[in-house]
């Protein structure tokens, strides 16, 4: 079986869980005999290490105007051609303009001083994609149509809203069936401030799909309630974790004795970084031998740094910016507790990774991952008192931490990308009859 798959990010070019999930899923699907042509916008020049699937960078596809016209024989997708400085994981435009200001000032100055722009910044978003997102989505959709007309495959699979139009175009060009895979909805990303254009694209994808994969029952419910889709059309396939990728549980030597409580993820409304900070403040009222780390970047980061400064937590709260590679592993291996206080998390893959490092985790009840973890501390994201007391309990009682780690391992035993991949392949088979 050959799948034409559209993604938005893929290791090592990732800024969120979507890339990690695509990686885990496709690897196990190809292990189980599926051929995947994975289409990715804007792949950078570096070589890709994992070659178990065929990667096509959308901006490298040779596609002349004539060809575009030929394949875009249907009506043009009008609502994609909107000028909007939107990014996959960004919602706050004031942050964008701030960042732009920072960059432009920095560029002007570096011209004067002949100095290169400093390569490191906690606000660095280079792990993410270009700014005129809807235009990109639209361009990507044309390429989707082209590939649909020229490539040989049995079924189409599109991951998250940015790729839905490409999936739909490929379906139109080829007449093959389309599966769309919902890793997150606009309601998760933006809460009450839903971007209507993004919502429209999501809904358009769902309407045109033959089947929908949701990463959790939580997400399935949102799709039914907010996007008015038939529950029968939706199948829940939970995410998993790539176990063999992790290092042994070596503890990195810390330069200090305090325990570390880790927040790792995009610093956006959806992830609840502000609740983490307020809980940290409460924890510090009753214990001092702890340090909190916020690893990641996002539109809320400047405000979060200011809040930590305001609360005068400067000697117990640290920011690392976006971590990758060895730094990411080091961060996990140094940590004593992982907290995911997400406001709305369709799945949330990072707690798995923390558990693989033998770190106890606290997750919010508003996350899809809570559907597959049976022995885990769970709090409502807004309940900072409860979160603070959970953090204190885990840090003060090593036996509790140990129990959490052990039961987490038991949960992990049952979870595997192998099962998820099998479920996806079975879905394909069912669809192809």
């Amino acid at each position: 079986m050959k799948v034409l798959m559209f993604g938005w990010e893929f290791p090592p070019y990732i800024s969120g869980g979507l890339g990690t999930a695509c990686f885990g899923l496709t690897r196990h699907m190809s292990d189980q005999g599926t051929n995947i042509l994975f289409v990715l916008p804007h792949i950078k020049d570096e070589p890709v290490e994992d070659s178990f699937l065929e990667l096509v960078a959308a901006n490298k596809v040779d596609i002349s105007d004539a060809k575009i016209k030929k394949i875009a024989r249907g009506e043009p997708l009008k609502f994609f051609m909107v000028n909007s400085p939107l990014r996959p994981y960004m919602t706050d435009n004031s942050y964008l303009s701030k960042l732009d200001a920072i960059r432009s000032i920095n560029e002007r100055i570096s011209k004067i001083t002949h100095r290169k722009i400093t390569p490191y910044s906690v606000l660095d978003t280079s792990g993410e994609y270009g700014r005129d997102l809807l235009t990109e989505v639209s361009r990507y959709a044309y390429i989707g149509g082209y590939l649909g007309a020229t490539e040989d495959f049995d079924i189409i699979h599109a991951h998250d809203w940015m790729t839905f139009p490409a999936g739909v175009e490929a379906k139109k060009a080829s007449g093959k069936k389309l599966v769309i895979h919902v890793h997150a909805t606009e309601f998760d990303r933006s809460g009450d401030n839903v971007n209507q254009q993004v919502y429209d694209i999501e809904r358009y994808g769902m309407e045109n799909a033959d089947r929908i994969i949701a990463v959790s029952h939580r997400t399935k419910n949102i799709i039914v309630e907010h996007y008015d889709q038939d529950p029968e059309k939706i199948i829940v396939i939970h995410n998993a974790v790539i176990k063999e990728e992790k290092l042994a549980h070596v503890r990195s030597r810390k330069g200090f004795s305090e325990k570390i409580v880790l927040f790792l993820g995009r610093v956006t409304m959806q992830k609840g970084p502000d609740y983490f900070i307020e809980a940290a403040n409460l924890v510090l009222n009753s214990m001092q031998n702890v340090r909190f780390v916020m690893a990641g970047t996002g539109d809320m980061l400047p405000r979060m740094i200011e809040r930590v400064a305001e609360l005068r937590m400067q000697d117990h709260f640290h920011f690392t910016g976006f971590l990758r590679g060895v730094d990411l592993e080091t961060m996990f291996s140094m940590s004593d507790l992982y907290v995911m206080p997400s406001v709305s998390e369709p799945f949330g893959i990072t707690p798995f990774e923390a558990m693989l490092y033998g770190i106890p985790v606290i997750i919010s009840k508003q996350s899809g991952i809570s559907e597959v973890l049976t022995h885990v501390m769970m709090v409502d994201f807004w309940d900072i008192e409860k979160l603070a007391s959970c953090i204190i309990n885990v840090l003060r009682h090593p036996e509790l931490a140990e129990t959490l780690v052990e039961s987490g391992h038991n949960d992990l035993e049952k979870i595997s990308w192998h099962h998820a991949a099998r479920d996806v392949i079975n879905l394909y088979k069912e669809m192809l009859g």
Partner: protein, 399 residues
């Protein structure tokens, strides 16, 4: 007679490594970016300090003692000259040896210590005095606080410490209808003389000289001397205070700033009632015309001329609070290295980089700013302070 009084500020901070991250805390005690600091000192020495000093020396010789100027060179800057560009020290020595150059005292670390620790302030002033004495064999009698930060309290402290003259910004909010072109006395003082920067004439050189949108561009020495001469009859001293980097760095050589400088003294001296004097000479030549009450802090920074470039936003206040909270413990360690390292972290530039007043003054704040954003400046700085705190624990000063 009207005196023209030049004072030039010479300062460069020890900039921190922008990659000093969370993982360094407790393990890595190398905070400074030696390479960047060496490069910046080298570059500014070549573009500004050395050619400007040569020009000044030429002028002093040409006018046979009638061209007189003053400098304040921060201790951290002198240290970097010694380390990276000793020829700059030699060149300043040559200037001082002419007898036409006064050296001004400041806090060794170019710090905000006066606002946070009186004890630390006094120690830093003393340290700078010593450094100047050692390097240049002169005794200082004039004081300027970091970035011309000034208030009645600063004046009282400085008078107590035995200084005769202090410099400040001629800010509108303190002068009111007064002219900056006279010697004043700080309201609570009896001996100390106060010299106020004429910010219009100073900034014509420091900021506007090469501005092509300025209606007076291009500025010639003739025209500028004419403006100076207009003060005749309604003032006794014109205080032209500015960063020394104005010559060759803020205003590049190709703007004509050095040619301008080379001709300015003769144009000014062409008027028989005008002369050049250093701050201490001005103070002994004129009587204060009035007492000046400055109950709150002023500075020469930004359009506000207040302290908001270094403190007031949460990042700055958090960083400052942590920095000064370590004073007692750092000193208790008795570890000279650690004390010196901590003090270098008190340099005002670190807090300047955390300023979020972007659009009006952001450009100036970005001058040789190693960081991408004020948030990065804060994160790196606080990481370093956390490492100092860990070091104190390892030395068992803090438990």
């Amino acid at each position: 007679m009207v005196s023209v009084c030049f004072y030039f500020q010479v300062h460069q901070p020890f900039r921190l490594r922008t990659d000093y991250n969370f993982f360094c805390i407790g393990k890595n005690h190398v905070y400074e970016d030696d390479k960047a600091n060496r490069e910046i000192i080298g570059k500014v020495a070549e573009k500004c300090y050395l050619p400007a000093n040569r020009t000044m020396l030429k002028l002093i010789r040409k006018h046979k003692g009638r061209f007189r100027i003053s400098y304040s060179i921060s201790g951290v800057c002198l240290e970097q000259f010694e380390k990276y560009a000793p020829e700059v020290i030699d060149s300043f020595r040559e200037l001082v040896s002419t007898g036409c150059v006064e050296l001004i005292n400041e806090t060794y670390y170019h710090s905000l210590a006066f606002n946070f620790s009186r004890q630390e302030f006094r120690e830093q002033v003393q340290a700078h005095k010593e450094k100047i004495r050692k390097l240049f064999a002169v005794k200082t009698t004039t004081f300027r606080n970091t970035e011309l930060i000034y208030s009645n309290d600063v004046a009282v402290e400085i008078e107590k410490m035995g200084y005769k003259t202090i410099l400040a910004e001629g800010a509108n909010q303190i002068l009111g209808w007064h002219s900056p072109n006279y010697v004043y006395q700080p309201a609570p003082c009896y001996k100390l003389n106060l010299l106020l920067k004429n910010y219009r004439l100073s900034d014509d050189l420091a900021f506007r000289f090469s501005d092509r949108n300025w209606d007076q561009w291009p500025l010639s020495a003739d025209k500028y001397a004419e403006w100076i001469h207009k003060v005749a009859g309604n003032g006794e001293v014109i205080n032209l205070f500015m960063d020394y980097e104005t010559f060759g760095e803020h205003q590049w050589a190709d703007t004509g700033i050095f040619d301008f400088l080379l001709h300015l003294p003769e144009k000014i001296l062409a008027h028989p009632d005008f002369r050049f004097q250093t701050p201490s000479e001005v103070a002994s030549s004129y009587q204060p015309v009035a007492k000046l009450d400055v109950p709150y802090f002023i500075s020469w920074a930004d359009v506000e001329r207040d302290l908001t470039a270094w403190m007031g936003n949460s990042l700055q206040d958090s960083a400052l609070q942590m920095a000064y909270s370590l004073e007692t413990l750092v000193k208790k360690s008795g570890n000279a290295n650690l004390i010196h390292t901590w003090r270098k972290l008190l340099t005002s530039d670190h807090f300047y980089y955390m300023c979020t007043k972007w659009f009006s003054d952001g450009d100036v704040h970005k001058y040789f700013n190693p960081y991408t954003s004020p948030y990065d400046a804060y994160v790196v700085y606080v990481n370093v302070l956390n490492d100092i705190k860990e070091t104190l624990k390892q030395l068992e000063v803090l438990n």
